[in-house]
Amino acid sequence: MTAAKLNGRVALLGPQSRTASLTSALKKLGAEGPFGVITAGWRDAEGEIDTLTEHLGKPVIDLALYERVEDIFASDPSLFAAHRERQDKLKQLQRLYRVRLKAGAEACYRLMRRKEDTELLKPQLRAAISQLRALDRFHARQLAGMHASFDASIRPAERTTVRRHRQELEQQLRDLGTVLIAGGHVAVLASRLRLLGMADLLATHPLAGWSAGAMLLTRQLVLFHDRAPQGRREPELLDVGLGRARGIIALPAASQRLDIDSREHLTLMARRFAPARCMTLDDGAWMAMSDDVLVGAAGVRRIRRTGSLAKVKAHA
């Protein structure tokens, strides 16, 4: 199978540090090299492509997104300043969203623990979850508005250095088959992909991403961690990803990050993001999709509305 026939195919994988499942997923996809790779590049280890090349046994070309954006910022101070301002505003927006989210989720949990007549309780809970869903939609609109306003006023795509890097990327991608997106800092990855307009550039390439890279293949980037030292935080919508695996909420390293014994947390997560399906991607887990249809999976589990976990099997 050639790369051209793989248009629309994506693979989402769990962390690759302990169990490398990348070759299995790529084999199922029929994906071939030469491979391109995108990393967050924010910590030294992520710039290392050698391990990946060795693992795949094929050449891997670093698309060097992190370095490209650093170059853009260095050569275009006004773009850098505007980008920084937007990032600050995004942080503020996220903080404000979190205030409402915390209160809304707490109401849902309290209702779940109530013992009143089910007939009375059910619609209350449904309405409370519906409010959370509305809040997520509102937040998504706020984010989109902020990005649109940035694009309209700053016009990053028309900036000289951005144009040059995009042209270089376009040329590089012409010779590449599947593009891999590594794990790392999801917000750093998302902002660099966005600035370089990678959604368009990657539109026809088969993509495989692990951890943060898997999240970026979906539409809704949902942050989650139940075991952080400062305590649990309610899962929150961060941004919009590439949207190549629609209808999926990717949850990398879920067994480590999520309290999977908490039915109420998982129930709320499943119901809040429905009809999107919350999929766990632990070490070694992977799923392959073609035009939003699951074509292969191993070790992936879906969070049911009841808060239990169900093994995911491919339709084809």
Binding site: P15, G183, G184, H185, A212, L223, H225
Partner: protein, 378 residues
């Protein structure tokens, strides 16, 4: 009496070789789920356990075990406790305070060292130990002229690994900075927590006072030094986020008083406070009984309790339940909360010491400054 000691003594006085074997085979003190037996070996007229557990008699006599040179006492100690102690030994009319020679665990502080009793299920947190994978931050001493004090003051600046001028960092200002470094392993903790993504890379300013009992006790000069001299200096010379919510001030004991007082006098400087075992003594009526060093503290805390204002948005507090200050710290929490401050308060089975404060740094710092762990999926 502890089971192992009972076994040793069940047939009367054991031979010295049996005592040697017993001592070699045990870890001291002898820790059970609910109590601890302290054992001293040596010639003495009297032996006392000197500890710093508020609520228990400070000096607990050890009993001589007949026919041996062993002394022992058992005290109640709940799980997860950690206490520091020494033996007071009376020998030939002389008294001496000694570390427990049978216990390898010691904690240092500005006054020397104490033996450490790790109660049942207490473990030193692994993030307080040097991790070979954690990159080290760097320290550099700076000096600035202080108008408030009329002299030059030194401050040591910690820059995180991978520091870059083009980035902007949160700022943490630490009272008794050198003590935190030496006795609470602050640099190891910072390196580890940053490496583990539990706190963001940050710039840390370590301050030290030559007269802390005075300057930290609600002294306006100190508050002015921190906010009108040190802070502008740091903002001017380092890439710190120049906004209150990216700045924290911390301290323990009198350092916590200085932290609260500084934030209270300059409420727009630091939005984040970390207060450990604050010496928040006060009097509802009449005099206090904590000695003259506390006079200005009580004056400040009494005033603060009358008019707390809003010194910060987010405050992490901790206190050991074996401290005499536990009641003052507990009573501070509802006061702060009722004035719209977000407070996280932890009580632990420990006392007024630097390792207690060390063990709380992860929760406190990560709560005040959550790291990118939330954003990172590797």
């Amino acid at each position: 009496m502890h089971e192992q000691l009972r076994k040793l003594m069940r047939k009367g006085a054991p031979r010295p070789a049996a005592v040697d074997a017993f001592v070699a085979a045990q870890n001291f003190p002898l820790v059970d789920k609910t109590d601890v037996t302290f054992v001293y070996r040596g010639a003495a007229d009297e032996v006392y356990l000197r500890h710093w557990i508020f609520g228990l008699r400070t000096a607990q006599p050890l009993q001589s075990l007949a026919g041996t040179d062993l002394w022992a006492v058992t005290i109640e100690l709940p799980a997860e406790s950690r206490i520091e102690y020494k033996y007071e030994v009376l020998r030939d009319g002389n008294r001496s305070l000694e570390l427990d020679p049978l216990n390898p665990y010691q904690a240092r502080d500005p006054f020397g060292a104490n033996s450490v009793c790790r109660g049942y299920r207490y473990q030193r947190p692994e993030w307080t130990l040097r991790d070979a994978n954690s990159r080290r931050g760097t320290f550099k001493r700076h000096e600035l002229d202080s108008k408030s004090f009329g002299e030059r003051r030194a401050v040591d600046i910690y820059l995180p690994s991978r520091f870059r001028d083009s980035r902007r960092y949160p700022l943490l200002v630490v009272h008794d900075g050198h003590d935190y470094l030496h006795y609470s392993d602050l640099s190891i903790v910072l390196d580890n927590l940053i490496h583990r993504l539990e706190i963001p890379p940050m710039i840390v300013a370590l301050t030290t006072s030559p007269d802390r009992l005075r300057e930290y006790a609600g002294d306006d000069r100190h508050a002015d030094f921190i906010c009108t001299e040190l802070l502008p200096y740091l903002v001017q010379n380092f890439p710190v986020n120049d906004e209150p919510q990216s700045r924290a001030l911390m301290g323990a004991s009198f350092g916590a008083v200085a932290t609260l007082h500084t934030a209270w006098r300059h409420p727009d400087c630091f939005d984040r406070l970390l207060l450990q075992s604050g010496s928040f003594a006060f009097s509802d009526i009449g005099d206090h009984s904590r000695g003259p060093a506390f006079d200005p503290v009580v004056e400040f805390i009494n005033e603060f309790r009358q008019h707390p204002g809003k010194p910060a948005q987010k405050i992490y507090m901790s206190c050991g339940v074996y401290e005499s200050l536990i009641y003052e710290n507990r009573s501070m929490v509802p006061l702060l909360q009722s004035h719209d401050m977000q407070v996280r308060y932890e009580e632990v089975r420990d006392a007024h010491n630097w390792e207690n404060w060390r063990d709380r740094l992860r929760t406190g710092l990560s709560w005040l400054f959550p790291g990118p762990l939330w954003m990172v999926y590797e």
